[in-house]
Amino acid sequence: MTAKVLILSPSPLRNAAWRALLAGQPEVTVIGAGVNIETLAPLAAAGTPTALLADVSEGQAELARQLKASLPQAGLLFLVPAYSLGEILPLLQAGALGCVAHTASVPDLVRGLIAVSRGELFLPPAIAAQALVALARGEAPAPDLTEPLSEREAEILGLLAQGLTNKDIAQTLIVSVRTVEAHLRNLFAKLGVRSRTEAALWAVRHGYPLDDRSRR
């Protein structure tokens, strides 16, 4: 699946730089760039973006809320100065799916865009686990399972709760991404959740990130 990316930065020059950087990347297509939400709207209507890269330093959480409302189909990836839980948590609560630090590599950025375009959480695993624990504290208790998980599903849920993307899970288990996606569909049905974030929160509440059996 190719990530169809919109770029949001207040500077036209930076927008042009992002476009140039991402132009040669496989599985990423930049469909437009804008300096504010208003300029993005017509681009989004024309191109159906699956991901949005936000390179905006001020008021990120409020911006994430506005973007989530105006572009609900696009996974939001924010550039942040560093991976700090204090900065990342408000973004996730506002609807962002991931963050990439200024120190990250280009392959990291590309993997992030691909991940959020699929609705996956994209954070370094250590931060992701902490963020999920923090988010889970503020949520209502999850109901228990009515149908037991298979060994493989439990393994995948554990990795999901550690903040791994589908590709990372597939690489850890050495199976295809399509196989992981199929397991996740079954998992979502058994857990009664609609998204991987909900599934990850369910897993955190049931202690999955603390269970190291799922790591190979």
């Binding site: 691909i114 590709k167 050495i174 295809s176 399509r178 196989t179």
Partner: protein
């Protein structure tokens, strides 16, 4: 249970860096187009976990591993801990081995593309020269090659059976691919195809 499709692609190590049709760019383009689910590479699980790629051939280090990083392609490290040594022999056998290498170099450089290096008379001639090199280098090397090929094949089959129905590309040095294809042929639950059909 659905059958798993496997293709074996021979690679050319340092020759890929030369200005030949089957260069690193052509290799990346080919694998990107095939877009396998799993990409079996001749590196050890330890090298993969530690991302210790410095000793790997350029087609892995500079082409296939970066491509896998940026796509959904999952890497399967299939090598054992004891890679076979490069063939060598003293005296006249050593001289014939060097002659055979130069013949292989000519064949690889003149291949018009990935298909040329992987099938047809050029591939058969190269395979014959590798067999000759194996005989000249002695029984120890032939045993090491066989053990290595057996290990690679077992790991490919294990990957195939772990994830039935997936599409697997095995990208290994062209010296091994003929033998791996032969070993995979006729295995239950796997379908061996040409890389252009994967």
């Amino acid at each position: 249970m659905s059958s798993t499709t496997i293709a074996v692609l021979g690679t050319l190590a340092d020759f890929h860096r030369e200005p030949i049709p089957y260069n690193l760019g052509a290799l990346v383009q080919l694998v990107r187009r095939i877009r396998p689910d799993l990409l079996c590479l001749d590196l050890t699980p330890e090298q993969w976990r530690a991302r210790a790629f410095a000793d790997l051939p350029p087609e892995y280090r500079e082409a296939l591993l970066p491509l896998a990083d940026q796509t959904d392609i999952v890497v399967v490290p299939i090598a054992g801990d004891c890679p076979p040594p490069e063939p060598a022999a003293p005296g006249w056998r050593g001289r014939v081995i060097r002659w055979a290498w130069s013949g292989l170099a000519t064949l690889h450089r003149s291949a018009p593309g990935p298909a040329g290096a992987n099938q047809g008379w050029r591939h058969e001639a190269a395979n014959w020269l590798y067999t000759l090199i194996g005989w000249l280098a002695g029984p120890d090397l032939r045993r090491d090659w066989k053990n290595h090929i057996d290990h690679l094949t077992r790991q490919v089959l294990e990957a195939a059976r772990r994830d039935p129905g997936c599409r697997i590309l095995v990208a290994v040095n062209v010296r091994y691919c003929h033998h791996i294809r032969h070993a995979l042929h006729g295995q239950p639950d796997v379908r061996l195809v040409d890389f252009s059909e994967l």
